[in-house]
């Protein structure tokens, strides 16, 4: 199994005391599978995604990627996992403003030591970014920036793609196009995809759907 999460708990400190975001979530995901994670605002979707991506650690429970508990890895170990095994597509794109689009796309692959120029060129062409490679992120529209973020994530061919509302900032048509490309590429690379979304239409296009309510699987 590519991903196994068991009995995940997470809370945050607030002015009114600890706030429990996740209360015993279980899930599994295999390579080539696609999973839509839906739920109300504040239901814990993004928190779960961040925990699986090794960006934060659960208070309780275990998250295994390829059978290895990410909590057992130190900061450097989780960093290695993020750049090699897991790819995260953020809602806010998080491109590096000082780098050109071409460098942004190649960045994570080069970081992971898995830069494949032919594959990267293929990606950029299919995402319609070939003309934009010399530009800087601020010169692109939101839809274009999101496509750059997708290309950057897929360039090192991660085994697990985590997408946090990747189309949340895009109009309906652009969102549909971006998702088409994402699904196509994920299928091609055999990666597992877990996508947080509010959109029922987009969720319906995924292989499985998991709904969170108040920190628990509904």
């Amino acid at each position: 199994m590519l991903l196994t999460a068991h009995d995940i708990h997470k809370s945050y400190e607030t002015a009114d005391g600890p706030f429990k975001v996740l209360r015993g979530v279980d899930l599994t995901l295999d390579g080539g599978e696609t999973l839509a994670l839906t739920g109300e605002s504040g239901s814990g979707k993004s928190t779960l995604l961040h925990l699986i991506g090794g960006l934060d650690l659960p208070d309780q429970g275990e998250i295994l990627i390829d059978g290895v508990d990410i909590a057992a890895r130190d900061d450097t170990g989780r960093a290695v996992m993020r750049r090699g095994v897991v790819g995260v597509i953020f809602q806010q794109f998080n491109l590096i403003p000082s780098l050109r689009i071409g460098d942004n796309i190649a960045f994570q692959a080069r970081l992971a030591g898995r830069y494949d120029p032919a594959w990267t060129e293929n990606l950029t062409a299919r995402l319609g970014l070939s003309e934009q490679l010399k530009k800087y992120p601020e010169q692109l529209s939101g839809g274009q920036q999101q496509r750059v973020a997708i290309a950057r994530t897929l360039a090192p061919r991660p085994r697990l793609v985590l997408a946090d509302e990747p189309t949340g900032n895009l109009d309906e048509d652009t969102a549909a196009t971006v998702l088409d490309i994402l699904l196509e590429l994920v299928e091609e690379t055999g990666a597992g995809l877990m996508m947080v979304t509010h959109s029922h239409a987009l969720a319906a296009r995924m292989g499985r759907r998991m709904h969170l309510r108040a920190g628990q699987v509904a």
């Binding site: 961040h50 991506g53 960006l55 934060d56 900061d75 450097t76 960093a79 290695v80 996992m81 993020r82 750049r83 090699g84 995260v88 953020f90 806010q92 998080n94 491109l95 590096i96 403003p97 000082s98 780098l99 460098d103 960045f107 994570q108 080069r110 970081l111 992971a112 030591g113 800087y136 529209s141 939101g142 950057r152 900032n169």
Partner: protein, 790 residues
């Protein structure tokens, strides 16, 4: 991984050249001010050291003739035969070059520069050869260059020097070697006409000029502190700007530790580059100022300082160390924050006010602790170290307190504002305060340093001019070349002037301190002009009845003497009747009655006279004296001339101080510019709503300008008491601890107003460009704030 990450970090600067420029320029300017001042100090000190080494000045006892005449070679030979290890020295001037002749075989070690101990140098000094600093020109001899020799000084074998000076067989002084035979004949038996002058510890010149250098060093440190605030601001804002990039890099798999190490390496590389530029700039500043400083030191203390710079490794090293160390200090906080930054923390440049709010309590606590420490040190500290610790605590405490003070004032104004635009203006100003606070702290320190140093220099001038009036109260001073001429001068003065006041002195030990005792004539000149720091009633009466003695402040402080206490001068006991200021004198001094002096030192004859007369008759008197008793005009000193010369020297001092003031304010102005420019990007989202609701872009730009001026004015108000406190610490604590005398402090409101005007001008110039940029922000940029695409 390292290369890719480093590229991502470095390319930030490529995309943001303005930020890179401000960081480099801030650090370079800070280093330039520091190394410029250090270069001047190092150059001057090296000149004194060379001067001191030239004759081992003050380090050896000397034998001189009581009548000031040259010593004969026969006397020298007699002394050597009697077991005295003495070495002859002759000194004179050829044009502007001071020529010193020493006897190489008998000179004690350390009398002359190291090169003199070198056999090759000794061999090389045969014939008509002299050793001198580069640039020294002396006709008729071969000049061997030695950088250790003082400027405008040449050293030769005594035979060569006697020949060049046309003084064959003459010796000016005999230097006494520190180690002498256990058995030797008494000086009075061998050469009764000679008197032994006891060595002083350290060079007179060095000690006199130390005050000047201490103040310059303090100014350099203050300037650097201003620079550090700029660097801190630049680095802090650069880190803020890259928070998003850093978060993304970490999210994409770059571990924290290598990331921090890369940023440290990046910063140190930039600091190294900026340090090189800064030291170079400092060299230029020092090169421009050094001629004035050299002239000042030469005029004030007679210390020869080369007017040109040498590349001295010490200030290159100190400049680079300060640049790298300053960056390390400035960056440590930002790196610490980065290491503690949660991976999921906000990636956008945060509202600085949020962070400031959290840090305000800590900052306020630190300010209170430092200012309390400063108050305790002011009350109980009495060493140089305590003085500098007091300076540091006072300045850093005040700088930390500034944003809190401004914040309170803005809160107060905000509550009382009635109009909607005014309310928005105060609230918006309050919001900008955290982003500008570092620049305002730099401005505060710059202004305080300027007020402090200006007050000190001006106080020094006023005191010194008054001191000249007191100590140079006679209209004319005449030096006698021979005892016979002295008698003639006194007689001529009595017959042709209002009064003749002999100046006679002898070096003695008083209460264990080396001192010079003077015999003073009972005359209204002294009673009317001398001002005492402390005195009993009618101090001059006590002196002239033979009971009292007047002592200078240095002796009073060092020997812990107070009015009414008794002291002995060569066995004769006197009561301290008064303590007078004696600025710049490194040793103790005392005045007793002329008759008492004659009893104690019957062999000492006055060789200098002050002559009182109508000022208009001075020129005619000098001419008549030359004609009637053959006293050349060169042996006379016109009081008005000395005063004019002294004032000229002070004008040059002011030139240097003014230049440093303007430079420091320029650096502070640069800090404001840098902060405003960096904040401009963050300002657009803050100002867009106000624009959308009806304010014009012109209004927004104008409000930015007014806001900066307002904050600068408020900072100036805080800087005034801080600067005066700084001056007080320099004058009343550091100077006393370092030199044993206190300068009175005067206030100069017009100077402060001028400085305030300059500071506001610097702030206006700094704010103008960012304000114009804001006023010209395209509507499309303002609209983006409301767009989802942002």
């Amino acid at each position: 991984m390292i290369g890719v990450t480093f590229t991502a970090l470095i390319w930030h600067w490529r995309r943001n050249p303005l930020q890179l420029f401000t960081l480099l320029a801030g650090l370079a300017l800070a280093t330039a001010l520091w190394s410029g001042v250090q270069a001047i100090n190092a150059e001057a000190r090296a000149s004194y050291d060379a001067a001191a080494a030239t004759l081992g000045e003050g380090r050896f006892d000397r034998l001189n003739r009581r009548d000031g005449q040259p010593i004969s070679e026969a006397t020298y030979v007699q002394l050597r035969r009697a077991g005295w290890l003495v070495s002859p020295v002759i000194e004179g001037r050829i044009d502007s070059v001071r020529l010193v002749g020493v006897e190489l075989l008998t000179a004690p070690g350390g009398l002359a520069p190291a090169a003199f101990g070198d056999a090759a140098a000794i061999a090389g000094l045969g014939g008509d050869q002299v050793i001198a600093a580069e640039g020294t020109k002396l006709a008729g001899v071969r000049v061997v260059i030695d950088p250790d020799i003082a400027p405008q000084t040449a050293i030769a074998d005594i035979g060569t020097a006697q020949k060049l000076l046309n003084r064959a067989g003459e010796i000016d002084t005999l230097v006494v070697a520190p180690q002498q035979p256990l058995i030797q004949a008494a000086l009075a038996d061998v050469a009764p006409e000679l008197t032994r002058q006891i060595a002083q510890s350290g060079s007179d010149i060095g000690r006199l000029t130390d005050s000047f250098h201490l103040n310059l060093t303090a100014f350099g440190l203050l300037s650097f502190a201003v620079g550090i605030f700029i660097v801190h601001g630049a680095i802090g804002l650069a880190f803020e700007q890259r928070r998003g990039t850093v978060r993304t890099l970490r999210a994409l798999g770059v571990p924290l530790r290598p990331l921090i190490l890369l940023m440290v390496a990046e910063l140190l590389s930039l600091a190294f580059l900026a340090g090189l530029i800064g030291v170079g700039l400092g060299y230029v500043i020092a090169g421009l100022l050094l001629p004035d400083v050299a002239a000042t030191l030469r005029g004030l203390y007679g210390a020869d300082v080369a007017g040109t710079l040498q590349l001295r490794p010490i200030w290159w090293a100190s400049g680079m160390a300060i640049a790298l160390g300053g960056t390390a200090i400035a960056a440590s906080g930002a790196l610490w924050k980065l290491s503690r930054l949660p991976l999921l923390a906000g990636g956008n440049p945060r509202a600085l006010a949020v962070a400031a709010g959290r840090g305000a309590k800590v900052q306020g606590f630190a300010a209170v602790v430092l200012l309390t420490a400063a108050a305790i040190l002011a009350l109980f500290g009495n060493s140089i170290l305590a003085g500098f610790a007091l300076l540091a605590a006072l300045l850093i405490g005040a700088a930390l307190a500034l944003p809190l003070i401004l914040s309170r004032v803005l809160d107060w104004a905000s509550v009382r504002a009635t109009g909607v635009v005014t309310q928005w203006f105060w609230a918006d100003t309050r919001q900008q305060l955290p982003g500008l606070s570092l620049a305002l702290m730099a401005l505060l320190l710059a202004m305080a340093a300027n007020i402090g140093v200006s007050t000190m220099v001006s106080s020094f001038r006023l005191t010194f001019v008054a001191f000249l009036d007191q100590r140079l109260s006679s209209e004319l001073y005449v030096n006698a070349e021979t005892p016979a001429q002295a008698i003639a001068i006194e007689a001529y003065g009595k017959a042709n002037a209002d009064a003749v006041l002999p100046v006679q002195s002898e070096k003695v030990m008083i209460s264990g301190q080396p001192a010079e005792v003077f015999g003073g004539r009972d005359h209204s000149t002294y009673r009317e002009n001398w001002r005492f720091l402390q005195a009993q009633a009618m101090p001059w009466d006590a002196v002239h009845t033979g009971q009292g003695i007047l002592i200078n402040e240095q002796l009073a402080r060092r020997a812990n003497l107070a009015i009414g206490e008794t002291i002995a001068v060569t066995g004769q006991v006197y009561t301290v009747a008064g303590v007078y200021g004696d600025y710049g004198n490194p040793i103790g001094q005392a005045v007793i009655d002329e008759g008492q002096f004659a009893k104690l030192f019957p062999d000492v004859r006055p060789v200098r006279f002050g002559i009182r007369m109508d000022r208009d008759k001075v020129a005619a008197f000098v001419a008549a004296m030359a004609r009637d008793i053959d006293v050349p005009a060169a042996n006379t000193i016109h009081q008005a001339g000395i005063k004019a010369f002294s004032l000229g020297v002070f004008e040059r001092t002011f030139t240097v101080t003014t230049a440093l003031n303007i430079l420091t304010l320029a650096v502070a102005g640069f800090a404001i510019l840098m902060s405003l420019l960096t904040l401009t990007a963050m300002r657009v989202p803050q100002l867009a709503p106000a624009w959308a609701m009806g304010m014009t872009r012109r209004n927004l730009g104008a409000s930015e300008l007014v806001r900066t001026l307002l904050l600068a004015s408020m900072t100036a108000v805080v800087a005034l008491p801080l600067g005066l406190a700084l001056a007080w610490v320099l004058l009343a604590v550091v100077n006393v601890a370092a030199f044993g005398w206190q300068l009175p402090m005067y206030l100069f409101p017009a100077d402060y107003a001028r400085l305030g005007g300059l500071a506001l001008l610097a702030a206006t110039i700094a704010a103008l460009w960012p304000a114009l940029r804001l006023a010209r922000t395209p509507p499309s940029d303002l609209l983006k704030v409301f767009s989802n695409e942002r």
